[in-house]
Amino acid sequence: MARALITAPRTAKRGEIIEIRTLIAHPMETGHRNDGQGRLLPRDIIRRLRCDYDGERVFEAELFPAIAANPYVVFTTVATASGTLSLRWEGDNGFAQTETVAITVT
């Protein structure tokens, strides 16, 4: 389990645009670097970040090796109803992690 930090408001007004900031620990090894012996270090990156809001997809990011280590992705969504934001990262070597944050919308 990689450490993930999610910054999102706990409460919002209906219709308000909220910002979600995500940060997850991952080396994002590009697959273009060599080790000291000249051997290629195999690629190991997070390839996808998805956000579902009460089960409906509201955001998706396709990430490539040019995304910096410990990927930081910020996006927005409209606060529609109280519920759960589910964030899922997937990548090479079977990397898969889901984090959830609850939001109360008034």
């Binding site: 450490r3 930090l5 910054t7 900031r21 940060l23 997850i24 620990a25 080396p27 910096a68 280590a69 410990n70 930081y72």
Partner: protein
Amino acid sequence: MRRVAGAASLAFAVGLCGAAPAVDGPRSGAADMSAELQAMQRDDGANPGMLWVADGEALWRRPAGSRQRSCASCHGDATRSMRGVAARYPAYDAASRRPIDLRGRIEACRTRAQGQAPSRPESAEALALEAYVAHQSRGLPLAPPADPRLAPARARGEALFRQRIGQLDLSCAQCHEQHAGGRLGGSRIPQGHPNGYPLYRLEWQSLGSLQRRLRNCMTGVRAEPHDWGAPALIELELYLAQRARGLNVEAPAVRP
């Protein structure tokens, strides 16, 4: 002009730009960074170092070692018990009768009080705990202890700071005192203070310790770096803390 001058003009640039204007008191490396990096450091949701702090917080509470004790079982709530601690390190360790840095202190606790095996230098766990503990002093001024038993080691640290080393025959003082504020390549030369450590260095793509940075510098001037935990490194850390006294702890800082 699109292209930045290459390495060939390194010495020229350093000579041309000369020394920084005199400032009152020490100046944090944060002031020499771009606005974007300063913003990254300030924002706990964007600062990659906070990932290690979060790991450290979890480790603090986890029973470990042959004694199966957690840090919390002795030290309680770190936000209270560890507040101000990092600002007072390196300190004098009565048990080993020599100066000890924060990492060494945590390591002593891990091995003696918890019964854990010694950790490798720069291991993820060691860095996470150091980041978590140092973070509890964020915003507090560095306050190296006035313990007279530290004086000889601190003096040796200053001598090391001023000693020319390596194939490039440079001392710390030449870059970080005489040429602080000037430019090396595209970057401003900072005064070289330890107040941000452990910090996330973009060059490392990882969080790392002050000792890692000191060893980097030594390699940078083509000198054989001291071993991890060597007395010379602790003495340098001791002198650097004194030299930076009054600067606020920024752990975990971000640096290019």
